[in-house]
Subunit: 251 residues, 2 copies
């Protein structure tokens, strides 16, 4: 069994529709490569009790929890003190992070607001931020990252080598133009019954030029069995009189 | 108090990173316009027990639940029977939807897989699908929509006029180039303390040309108070020696 994960997106700006989240897709793809099963994503507001309760809930249920958002210098950045509260530890200056940030800013610029970014739950291990210095951190199985995508990606890549991982997901996609889900559903269901370990997904698409079709994705942990299932998908498409093309349909 | 809402995104394709979700942002923006407070989003896999348990949990906690995904004709489309299970009602052919779909397909094409799309929880009210006929449905406070964005949007707009709504959110944004969060954090925190009913958000940005800055969003239900808070934000930016520009920073 691969280790499991949950992503917590912390931020009113996603719930208000102001900001289109792009971090979930990045983390999801990387976790699949690392053999970590992403089981749930939650988006929650910048509300103290909601953050604390949600962290306590999901950290008990999943091997890894990744959070994004709420670790900047402003009043609405409350993720770090809430994580401290969830773990029942003080939220205190982290001396090494303090020195790094102090050195980064010009004299007089390292004000109280910026010092908050060097304040971590006691016992947390900082995650280096090669973009803008202010660190993320890990405590227990919870990994706290920035919401700004460029910084989040850098922090995730700092974390990745040390994560407990499993068997990477093997994924093979075939698509066919002009083929609809209703036509192939029965055949696909038969293949799914034959290959219980493979996750067979069916995704209709419509290209900007109006041409439609369906993409069929075979995923699983055993590469041989995924290849066999994907071979059966290929043959099903041909049997129905359409042309299977390997990969994802071009946008 | 405005009514509350939760979005459930049901689909392995989001958790695997195959698909970038764009439905959440659309629904979030429309809910803000309708005066419905989006409090949580969850992305969950196509697993029967997870869907049933999550629906039972969130429908008790929020006034509205919107689901996307899993209502097509293939074996991985299990949302409708799971919702029936969550409500403890049978999953049965809905005669009117059956007739509409039967009329839509050519003779012989309306096979068993497609008939599943006319099968709804008993007592559900169909949501018209002007794009591809197969309906969504509402049962109790749960609104079940397609995952394909074009169809989801059409279904949401069919639903919108009948939703219990509240006071629309008023939102005013100012941004400033060259201004950083650490510089304005103290002043912003003071404004937040003065305007407890306003949600003040601070969002750093970086334009493709490398120029950076910060966007400051004032949101709330009382337009006058939001305007006052946004005026204070404008003055804070000027006091710090930067030029406030109304709106969101250009991408």
């Amino acid at each position: 069994m691969n280790p499991t994960a949950c992503i917590l997106v912390i931020g009113n700006e996603i719930l208000s529709g102001r900001t289109q989240d792009v971090n979930v897709q990045y983390i999801a793809r990387r976790l699949a490569e690392l053999g970590i099963s992403l089981m749930e994503v939650r988006v929650i507001p910048d509300i103290r009790d909601t953050i604390i309760n949600t962290v306590c809930d999901v950290r008990a249920r999943f091997d890894h929890v990744f959070t994004t958002g709420g670790i900047g210098p402003t009043h609405d950045d409350i993720t770090a003190p809430c994580i401290a509260e969830a773990f029942g530890v003080p939220w205190t200056i982290h001396p090494e992070s303090f020195r790094l940030l102090e050195a980064h800013f010009s004299p007089g610029e390292f004000n109280a607001a910026r010092q908050r970014m060097a304040t971590l739950p006691e016992g947390a291990v900082p995650i280096r931020n090669p973009v803008s210095v202010a660190p993320g951190f890990s405590i227990g199985n919870v990994h706290v990252m920035a919401g700004v995508p460029r910084i989040m990606r850098a922090m995730f890549e700092e974390l990745a080598p040390g994560l407990k991982r499993g068997t990477p997901v093997t994924s093979i996609s075939w698509y066919a133009l002009g083929l609809y889900e209703g036509t192939l559903a029965d055949g696909l269901s038969n293949i799914q019954s034959q290959y219980g370990q493979v996750d067979l997904g069916s995704y209709p698409f419509r290209r900007p030029d109006g041409r439609r079709g369906v993409a069929l994705v075979s995923k699983g942990l055993d590469p041989d069995i995924v290849r066999q299932a994907a071979g059966a998908v290929h043959d099903l498409i041909e049997t129905l009189g359409f042309t299977p093309v390997e990969g994802e349909p071009p946008a």
